[in-house]
């Protein structure tokens, strides 16, 4: 499923850029640690819930709050403008420049100005000077910011020195403190001579008509102080209702953005401040203060029933900082003007669906960012919604479209999977760990397999095997419906068999209702309609009173049954059934943990019928599957259950919760990225010195097992069900 060649080329260029990889990699490693330190003693969940609630209130009432904000500013003598798009902003600024015969405009950081390419449009009117160090550097070479907070993070100090040398017309050494001093001297003259100061704003408080800037360099203060005219660009989504709400933002924004308890400067401006007459004084006069409230897609965003949630964004950029894909390719690939997860959403509204197409495609749907967002935005879910909207305008290429649509033709879909077993058997050989792998593929398909081995499909799918399995239920407690999912059904039916045996020992009979794909692949490829069809095909078989639980051993399927079916079937006559299924659905490891805890708190298995010699101690590490950890919030349970097995020495690997790179169709769409993520995962697994890596997702298992096989590793990858069953 190739994505277009332009994006591919950008991805490959970024992946082979050592400066970018070094800078982003180092930052990605350090940020979570320093962020955690600065949040010590603060209840992040409580804080972000308060922020989300304050922002939600604003979103519901933003027009009235904008009016109140404007009225308060006007009372103080400020001039307030409304701009519906970039053209309006250019016109307003040109008028202001003309009225003051302005030659130079100093700018402190404003993402709105980047979004509308302001410098480009105003350059014939007056000299536009960026004063934020990073912004100034990229302005010299006409580049766009690659990060919302650190715009020049993609440049090395050597490259910066070249840029300084060219801009200042003399040789500048790659010495960071020297470059900072040169920037201070150079820009100081601009500050003293500028006619207009232009600023972005982090918060706009309706109650008092206050604009707030969080800055570190001090350029925001100088921009607001030195020139006789000051213009603020304010996006509607920056509104806050009450003055005291600022305390919430002050607590979260610097911590989440730069891991600081507070930025060096927080500046609150509520009206035209004092300045020196004709820039030098000594007479003191009041400034001319202009405030431009910018729409440019924001009204549409804030009134969209789904995407208004993105209005809770504080622009901290922590979703970029923790994103495993952003860390590999940076904001020029994973971004348009705004980068990363939130960038793919904002771009769809502030720019266009077309411009966000490449951006949103970069998301691997691991869900990590949502756990860090101080605005409590479910970014990964919104990206899937965005993908769905983009795909309605820009359909998938022919082959991908065929695959997605095959999902809803269940007969054809099952037929295809069955044929895969004899087709893959032709190319399969046994690996070191006893599993069968495809060793070579014809017709150029090798690209899919040459960085990690793919499993051969089973000759008998699980749906056939369960019919002949003899279930020995110990002290029967009830009945569980098993949703197998395509990977277990056709590639790893032995995991299904292990699950049956483990649950039998817990007192549950396992039934395998007639089923087809869960629909998740369609959702991740941007086709909610196909997902809805598939959910409908499954729902009647699972929405039955006789089942005490519905279980899946694939967390991606579990998320589909638990959350996505409810979403896609909302408003249909299957809605009630979807809710019934959701309420009973659990992932395998969570169910085992619950059942064992119910039995009296002992997680240790009572019926020791394991097939391997448990007298031998084994070292086991655990990989957190993204959808289990980030979506379903199951992190401790597998560890507790594994540690309770007396023959297991549990070892925590580094970065256990970092995506392995599988990502479903992602590893076929962008194998270059998947491969890099897998490389890092394998390194962490090997370094843990474990003999076995346990996982709860058959997708991760396929990826990790294939990677271990490819590098001839002695480590065995197993599904937790197999490990608990003891038969492997």
């Amino acid at each position: 499923m190739p994505v277009d060649s332009v994006l591919k080329a950008k991805v490959n260029k970024a992946l082979s850029d050592p400066v970018l990889r070094g800078a982003l990699g180092k930052f990605g490693d350090e940020f979570p640690i320093s962020r955690a330190r600065v949040y010590e003693g603060i209840d992040f969940e409580e804080l972000r819930t308060a922020i989300a609630n304050a922002k939600k209130e604003v979103i519901e009432d933003f027009e009235a709050l904008a009016d109140q904000f404007e009225a308060n500013l006007k009372k103080r003598g400020a001039i307030v403008h409304r701009a519906k798009d970039g053209n309006d902003v250019y016109r307003i600024l040109k008028d202001i420049a003309k009225a003051h015969n302005a030659k130079v405009c100093v700018k402190s950081k404003s993402m709105v100005s980047e979004e509308i390419h302001l410098n480009e449009h105003l350059k014939d009117t007056m000299e536009m000077v960026e004063t934020d160090l990073g912004e100034w550097i990229i302005q010299q070479v006409n580049e766009k910011p690659s990060h919302m907070v650190m715009p020049a993070i993609h440049l090395s100090k050597e490259r910066c020195a070249e840029i300084f040398s060219q801009a200042l017309g003399r040789k500048v050494e790659p010495d960071i403190s020297q470059m900072v001093q040169l920037a201070r001297q150079t820009l100081r003259n601009h500050f003293l001579n500028a006619d207009i100061g232009l600023s972005g704003c982090n918060a706009a408080i309706a109650e008092t008509g206050t604009m707030v800037m969080f800055t570190n360099e001090g350029n925001g203060r100088l921009t607001a102080t030195m020139p006789p005219v000051h213009v603020f660009l304010v996006g509607y989504e920056k509104l806050l209702k009450n003055f005291k709400d600022l305390a919430l933002l002050a607590k979260a924004l610097p911590r989440s953005a730069t891991a600081q308890a507070l930025t060096s400067y927080v500046t609150l401006i509520s009206g035209p401040v004092e300045t020196l007459k004709d820039k030098v004084g000594p007479e003191v006069v009041h400034k001319e203060l202009h405030v431009i409230l910018v729409d440019n897609g924001r009204r549409e965003l804030l009134t969209d029933p789904v995407f208004k949630e993105a209005g809770q964004c504080t622009r901290c950029a922590s979703c970029l900082n923790v994103c495993p894909v952003y860390q590999l390719v940076g904001g020029h690939v994973f971004g348009h003007i705004y980068a990363g997860g939130i960038g793919s959403l904002l771009t769809g509204f502030f720019n266009s669906l077309k411009e966000t197409d490449h951006v949103q495609e970069m998301c691997i749907s691991c869900g990590r960012c949502a756990a860090f967002c101080p605005g409590k935005i479910d970014i990964p879910r919104l990206i899937l919604e965005m993908r769905n909207r983009v795909r309605k305008e820009i359909p998938l290429p022919g082959m991908q479209n065929f695959i997605v649509n095959t999902l809803k033709r269940r007969g054809l879909f099952q037929f295809g999977l069955r044929q895969a077993s004899w087709a893959t058997a032709l190319f399969a050989k046994e690996g070191k760990d006893g599993n069968k792998y495809i060793r070579s593929l014809p017709f150029g398909f090798n690209r899919l397999a040459n960085w990690r081995s793919l499993p051969a499909f089973s000759s008998q799918p699980f749906r056939e095997r369960i019919k002949t399995m003899k279930q020995e239920v110990v002290n029967k407690r009830g009945k569980v419906a098993f949703f197998g999912g395509c990977v277990i059904d056709y590639a790893y039916p032995e995991i299904g068999e292990s699950l049956v045996r483990v649950l039998n020992r817990e007192g549950y009979e396992v039934v395998y209702p007639d089923q087809t794909c869960c629909g998740a692949p369609a959702i991740y490829m941007g086709s909610m309609d196909v997902a809805r069809e598939v959910a409908k095909q499954n729902i009647n078989e699972f929405a039955k009173d006789e089942f005490d639980y519905i279980v899946s051993a694939c967390p991606t399927c579990t998320v589909a049954l638990k959350d996505q079916w409810v979403q896609v079937l909302k408003g249909t006559d299957s809605e009630a059934k979807a809710k019934q299924v959701s309420a009973k659905t659990l992932d395998f490891i969570k169910l085992v943990s619950n059942l064992r805890k119910e039995k009296g708190g002992a997680l240790k298995e009572t019926a020791a019928t394991t097939h391997v010699a448990t007298s031998q101690q084994i070292n086991v590490t655990y990989h957190d599957s993204c959808h289990l950890n980030w979506d379903l919030g199951v992190k401790e349970e597998p560890r507790e259950v594994l540690k309770a097995q007396s023959h297991i020495n549990f070892i925590e690997m580094n970065e256990s919760d970092r995506c392995c790179g599988f990502g479903g169709s992602y590893c076929i769409k962008l194998p270059e990225i998947s491969q890099e993520l897998l490389k890092r995962k394998l390194k962490n697994i090997e370094e843990s010195k474990a003999q076995i890596v346990a996982v709860d997702c058959p997708g991760c298992l396929m990826n990790i097992r294939g990677g271990l096989d490819k590098q001839g590793s002695n480590v065995k990858a197993l599904h937790t069900a197999q490990l608990l069953d003891g038969k492997y």
């Binding site: 800078a23 160090l133 001090g218 100088l222």
Partner: protein
Amino acid sequence: MLTKTVDWLPYLPQGLDKEKLYQIFKEKAEAVPVKVIRAKDKAEAEDSIVQEMKVAGIKNAVGVPMDLVDIEAIKEKAKAAGITVSSELNRDIIEKAEFGISEFDLGIADTGTIVQDADSIHKRLVSMLPPIHLAVIPTKAIVETFLDSLEVIQKAYKGNPSNYIAYITGPSRTADIERVLTIGVHGPATLIVVCVD
């Protein structure tokens, strides 16, 4: 007569533990880093200010009229050490000065922050342009949190805050090149806070 338009002191939260808050303020500010000095009275504060100018080895300083210390007394004391202190509102003198002195209204213990009604252009220039900035604050005006400071401001201005309120936490900084923390970009590279009892 006060040099301020609005006095914040009557609006501080009741029952502040002055000593405890000062200790937290000092610890947090020093981590940023800020040099924190405590003076028991006006004379001691003025002496500390002159001492800091001598330590910095500067020749030209600027300051604004203040309540906690007497700028005229500072001028006299500095003169003996060969240091010129100007309190003239002259942009070019302030821009060339090596040391700026101003008074802030409040401290925040949690983050080691100082807060000021900065509508006055004079106050802003002396705290922004010179490479060293020294701020005096009343020790008793250290509150615990950012939220506390907003509440003081809300009350002091009866819901209509001054046109410019400045929060400063440490020196001017950047990490824009290779994420290396570098002190002293557009604002002062050194911040000293003298808490006057």
